[in-house]
């Protein structure tokens, strides 16, 4: 597989040369047999090449291929049990794929097969799994030192890196607290710090904001952004699609055991929904009359009650808004808040997986 990857890299290099020379990219790709590869590896951090995984008769992931570019925050979304964790585990070699391979592009420009050289890629990855992965009976400092030592860092390097990471994840001052005594959010941050202790070029985060309140979620994403800004490629699997939409440059949707869609949030949203989102809040907070008045019209596709009022999904927002104003005025009610937005990635995702 490594050989194939190397061969692929040569082809890719040739492809780039031909494209630079003015040849159409798709024709060149087809000619070189590169059309099965979704994207070029240039500037890539990791290339997932048609991996599948079955546990017994149960097929979890099938023919998944994608490329994660260096320096990006790559989101992975999917329903529970879609195989996000399995996919991440296959990326780092924790689970061996039934078929396919994962090629890691090291900082030295080498392409390394995770399947063939699992030990070589271990230093490339930092992984923060859904459940924090550190020793609860060791202190924050001891955990960092322990994993740093395993990655071959010197004591001086460990001290310096620990201080840097503790500052980055906001755990300064908690160095001597046992991992098990940290709060949920702090544990998550310690886990990320542990994952970063050895300067990995790729950080994989599996549900980094699970079980965190919104404040901590925001804090966590800020940390992730900070990490990313320091040059680390981040791959995040999360069921918080809003966060993925807000923070990830590209997203892969895992559906029906494979990556059914990959692209930026907008690309996905544009592809899978044309609806706008109209959020309305009235003074009376009684929306029954609105629904009954608008029910007969075909101005909205669907609606739902939310904390901030009622949300309508519509492809004709202007018509809907004028009708809303009319009905509210007729009722003698008043509009307290009104928001018009593009539909979220969540809607696109829900449309996709329906």
């Amino acid at each position: 597989m490594v050989d194939e990857s190397i061969d692929f890299n040569k082809k890719k290099s040739l492809h780039q040369d031909l494209v630079d020379a003015g040849w159409p990219s798709d024709i060149v790709s087809k000619h070189l047999g590169l059309e099965k590869h979704p994207q070029s590896l240039a500037g890539s951090a990791i290339f997932v090449n048609n991996i599948s995984k079955s546990f017994g008769d149960h097929e979890v992931v099938k023919d998944v291929s994608f490329v994660v570019q260096s320096g990006e925050i790559f989101g992975l979304i999917g329903l529970s049990g879609a195989g996000k964790t399995t996919l991440l585990n296959m990326l780092v070699g924790f689970i061996e794929p039934t078929a396919g391979d994962v090629v890691v592009c090291s900082s030295a420009g080498q392409n390394i097969s995770v399947l063939k050289s699992p030990d070589l890629v271990k230093s490339v990855f930092g992984f923060s799994s859904q459940q924090p992965s550190f020793y609860s009976k060791l202190s924050v400092k001891e955990n960092l030192a322990y994993f740093g030592e395993l990655f071959g860092l010197t004591n001086q390097e460990i001290v310096e890196r620990s201080n840097e990471l503790l500052g980055l994840v906001g755990l300064s001052g908690s160095e001597n607290v046992l991992g098990g005594n940290l709060s949920g959010g702090m544990q998550k941050r310690l886990d990320i710090a542990c994952a970063l202790i050895h300067h990995p070029s790729i950080l994989l985060l599996d549900e980094p904001t699970a079980d965190l309140d919104s404040l901590l979620r925001t804090q966590m994403w800020r940390i992730i952004k900070d990490i990313n800004q320091k040059g680390t490629t981040v791959i995040v699997a999360s069921h918080f699609i809003e966060d993925i939409e807000n923070y990830c440059s590209r997203v892969a949707v895992l559906n029906n055991k494979t990556v059914s869609l990959i692209g930026s949030s907008d690309e996905i949203k544009n592809k899978y929904t044309t609806n706008y989102e109209v959020q309305l809040r009235t003074a009376s907070e009684d929306y029954a009359y609105l629904l009954s008045s608008l029910k007969k019209s075909s101005l909205f596709a669907s609606s739902k009650l939310a904390e901030g009022g009622i949300i309508f999904y519509t492809s004709t927002p202007k018509k809907l808004l004028s009708e809303l104003f009319r009905v509210v005025g007729k009722k003698g009610d008043s509009i307290v808040a009104l928001d018009l937005a593009r539909p979220s990635l969540k809607e696109a995702f829900e449309s996709l997986v329906k």
């Binding site: 049990g81 585990n89 689970i95 859904q130 550190f134 994993f147 395993l150 071959g152 046992l178 542990c194």
Partner: protein, 588 residues
Amino acid sequence: MSKFLKDTVTLVKKNIRLLIRAKASSLIVILGPLLIIFLAGIAFDNTNLYAVKIGVFSEKYNDLSNSFIERLSEKQFKVTRFPLEDDCRSAIERGEVHTCVVFSPEFTMAKDNSNELSFYVDYSQINLVWSVLNAMTEKVAERSMELSRNLTTVLVNALEYSSEQVKTKRPALVDLTTSNDLVNRRVTDVSVRLEEVSLDFDPNAFGADNLASQKNKVKHWVDASINLGSEAISSARSFVGNANDVVQASSMGVEQKNNLKTLFEDAVTEIEELDDKFKDTNSLAGEQFKELAKIIDSLVGKITQTKAQMDQIDSAHTTSVAELVEAKASLDGSLKNLLDVQRALNNIDNIIRSVEVKDPNAVVQPIITHIKPVISQQSYLNYIFPVLMVLVIMFTALLLAPTLILLEKNSSAYFRNFMAPVNGFTYLFSTFLTCFILLSLQLIIILAIASIFFSSTILHGFPNTLLVLLLSVALFSLIGMLVGYVFNSEETAMLAAISLGSIFLFLSDVIIPIESMPSWFMRVAELNPFVVSSGLLRSTILYGMSVISLWKKILLLLAFVVVSAVLVFLFYQISSNSSIYKKWKRKE
């Protein structure tokens, strides 16, 4: 420092930290062995049985039974008297007493076969029953020995008195024999002499009949003589008268005639005188003959009387001789008997003298058994110390290694460890090394405690002991690791470890000797790592044997270590793959 060593040090350091910080593990690792050795030290650092409760029952207590009971009560035994035998037995079942001693109804030294002591014991408490029985029988044997010694003393004294008496009275017996012999000889002489004495009395030898006939003949001859004398005298007279007449009528001168006449006359005178005298003599002879006849008759009577007496004497003589013969026979018999008695006494004396052992103690206990320990006994701890050490090693290793592995397996850090560029063998080795180090530390503590507080002779042949200990630690650590890798939950691993430890324990000679097992099973038990380790440790600690002399068992232990190591590696590989799958199943 190579990466392998560096990683190993890091992992061992982490393992120890985790163990120390996990309360349960700390208990197992540090306090467990200390507690075990401390308790074992206190429990076994003596040579006696304490708090053994004994129930006794006797229909009729007497001095003898009471003396036994007092002897049992003297030391550590608590003795309870029960009114009924059944109560006493039931008390064992209820656990109130450990054994029940029942005295026979007539428990007295006066009786021969009635002094029976029956012990009721509960063999279900197999580990206690032998100790109790040993202790009990020891005490009973002590008292029994005393009684036996007293009885034997009496017997020995009687023997010695008999010997003395034999010795004292033997001269008298010899005298008696000599006297008997002398009398016998005298009787023999008398008898011979008596037999030589002929008491044959023939009255005819005295011619009594002849005497009478001779008397008559004499009378006849006397009468004839008298007649002849008278005739002679008459003839003489006639002759002289005729001679005178012839002379006178002769022509001879007168004178001559006268002279002859005178001579004739003188001759006639003399014949007359002679006739007178003859007549006197005849008369006297008649009287004398009468007297003679009377004497002869008296003599004949007396001879007859004497014969009768002699006949009586002969009869008495015959009787006496016969009686003397009988007496001699009796004397011979007596002498024989005396000699027999003397011989018997000599034999008795010889036998008594030949009895070299006259000390009652020696008679009562002709063979003095000295149970000499091959090492000087200070306490039970010395004896059980090797087993105790292996026991601590075994259980600690069997608990510690799975604890470490399961701590790691079930740790959330398992994934991050996987992500670290450290190969599986390093984890494996570091786990083994952690167990090894911790167990070694425990052993140091145990050895220190044992040598300081319990006066144990553990430092005897220490290098050999150390080698066996290290091999045992390695073996049981690997077995513990095997358990840890086979099982995936701490509960099942602990259960398996304890079960495995129990199997090792039950198939050893700690509870019952393995020699009491069926032969095929015994051979299996002999391969029990616990038995091999404890046997080796016993040899090195107690007997100071070198490992060279124990090379077979050392090799066996080494083989166990190698096999265990291979199995651990295999199960580690299997377990790693399996745990990944299980982790995925849990997450999904």
